[in-house]
Symmetry: C2
Subunit: 333 residues, 2 copies
């Protein structure tokens, strides 16, 4: 084992947009696990829009502060174990942060099956896949024949939401930025239509793409796109609130979309926020479904794997700018 622990620290909280200059590379020692802990070696770090939200303050986790090793979930391997539930060689998903090695309490970790290719454990079989699955099916409650719209549709979660909606017999419309992503959605991922929000007037484009209105809107972005969807929702429609990436990369969230609460009332909509761990007791069923759909080809997995620890800052900044297609991660070793 090399005795160097590469680390990337959040040198200062961003004022406005996040840039690579907000980070600083450093080295630490390899920690020794205490009783109940495991020493983890990071394999692939997951890049997520939520990483940026954590810099705005406490959410469902504590805020990240200047000087901290940057937080982030990763696929990691147990190197040394002082926890009864894990042994060396086991794979886990853990918040290692942006570093080669981390000592983490074992009791909150679950051993993952060693499914190849390993990056699938961060995409379709990881938080992204489970988020798409539970958010769509438990919060969106789609019925066959209904129209499902998802934003950030070429992203890690959105690309799966649209495909799962198709599997469930829905008409599926994706919202993404630019013609390349939009073409991918329709030609490769089986969406019925794609709306390019960068082409302007998303509300009118959505109306044209959804002649029967929207029954389920899976929202990854908030802001103006949420507003555009609200005005196209059908009576008794459902909005699954998964994220608000349009609001993260700035000092503080701006005001909310027009139509709230007016349209919520008149259309009798349900907006429901969720995070994936709310449904953890149903993970086994979800994993079985997801593995079945991948095996039979009805669910295509797009991954955007960047090789090299040092690219973590630019990988996150690029993700916030919408550079990625599918699940973005950095291969650390």
């Amino acid at each position: 084992m090399a005795d160097i622990n590469r680390q990337i620290v959040l040198a200062e909280l961003p004022q406005g947009k996040l840039t690579p200059a907000n980070f600083r590379a450093t080295e630490g020692s390899i920690p020794s696990p205490a009783d109940g802990e495991v020493l983890l070696r990071t394999l692939y770090v997951s890049l997520d829009a939520a990483n940026r939200a954590w810099m705005q303050g406490a959410t469902y986790r504590a805020a990240i502060n200047a000087g901290d090793v940057m937080a982030g979930g990763a696929l990691a391997e147990v190197v040394e174990s002082k926890a009864a539930n894990l042994a060396p060689g086991d794979l886990v998903f853990a918040d290692t942060g942006w570093q080669d090695y981390a000592a983490v309490k074992g009791k909150h970790l679950t051993k993952l099956p060693r499914i190849e290719p390993l990056p699938h454990l961060l995409s379709v079989y990881g938080v992204a896949g489970l988020t798409a699955y539970f958010g769509l099916l438990e919060c969106g409650l789609p019925k066959a024949g209904e129209t499902v719209v998802v934003s950030a549709a070429a992203g890690s979660v959105g690309s799966l939401v649209g495909q799962i909606a198709k599997i469930k017999g829905c008409r599926t419309v994706g919202i993404a930025g630019g013609p390349v992503k939009c073409a991918l959605l329709v030609r490769e991922l089986g969406f019925d239509e794609a709306v390019d929000y960068k082409a302007g007037d998303t509300r009118r484009q959505l109306k044209a793409a959804c002649p029967d209105g929207i029954d389920v809107y899976f929202d990854n972005v908030g802001g103006e796109i949420l507003e555009a969807a609200l005005f196209n929702m059908n009576t008794h429609g459902r909005i699954a609130c998964c994220g608000a990436v349009s609001q993260y990369d700035g000092a503080a969230p701006s005001h909310g979309p027009r139509g709230i609460p007016g349209l919520i009332v008149t259309k009798r909509l349900v907006m429901r926020g969720f995070i994936v761990s709310d449904f953890a007791e149903h993970n086994a069923k979800a994993m079985a479904d997801l593995q079945g759909w991948v095996a039979d080809g009805s669910l295509k997995v797009r991954e955007d794997i960047i090789d090299g620890f040092e690219y973590l800052p630019t990988a996150l900044v690029g993700l916030l700018a919408g550079d990625n297609i599918g699940k973005r991660m950095v291969k650390v070793r």
Copy 2:
């Protein structure tokens, strides 16, 4: 039967705030009911914030246009019937509009029990009571010991919501405008605390009044007060969206509250819009509960009855300004 049918017409759509000058008094003939219709004589006209929203465009009903007899629900008596389900002398709740007589299709009307005092059929046993009951219990899903907050708490719906929440064992906080209403909530209607939004910083006042956070927020107003509630909601809290009176009395709704969708996600909130007819199949159970609570004194009914047809315009304008305590109606005859 007098052969004059007094009518009040919406002479022009309001530009900005509604004023009595937007209306015009006139007289029409007494209509003859066609086959399937009943001729109704209006007894009490219900004043509702939604009356103003109908002037902004189509909602769950068609918009009101300039030149129309002003729309509005009323307690009315059947004078002549060409509908099989109704007979002269029967009481109904119907959209007679602001006039003495209206011919209305019988099939959408339900004969009301002749409960005294009759105004209760427009308040606790009418739309207001059922809205409070279903909105709180079906959308808010309060559990004993939880904290329930309601806005427009001295109004027709809000005053009942808070009392029903107390009956269900909740800590109850009302938001109202001014010290008179706030004192009434605590001293007469049994609220645990009242917050005067006119005293400023509703968000901080709510925090002080809800030391354990808000589990259920029953929203009648939208806007800044909804925003203040959002920031005080507990994880897995529920927001019942009943109305948005802060948004009605102007040309068009302004933007939405901050924190949407960000707080919806991080706190995993559910916002649910509803209108009372969504729950019509459960009306009998609701009526039985409401009558029981009124009979045993656990539900106090406040009514604000204005005597005289000609006061309809000022009664509505005053309601939008928050002049009323409890259910406002105009006694027509």
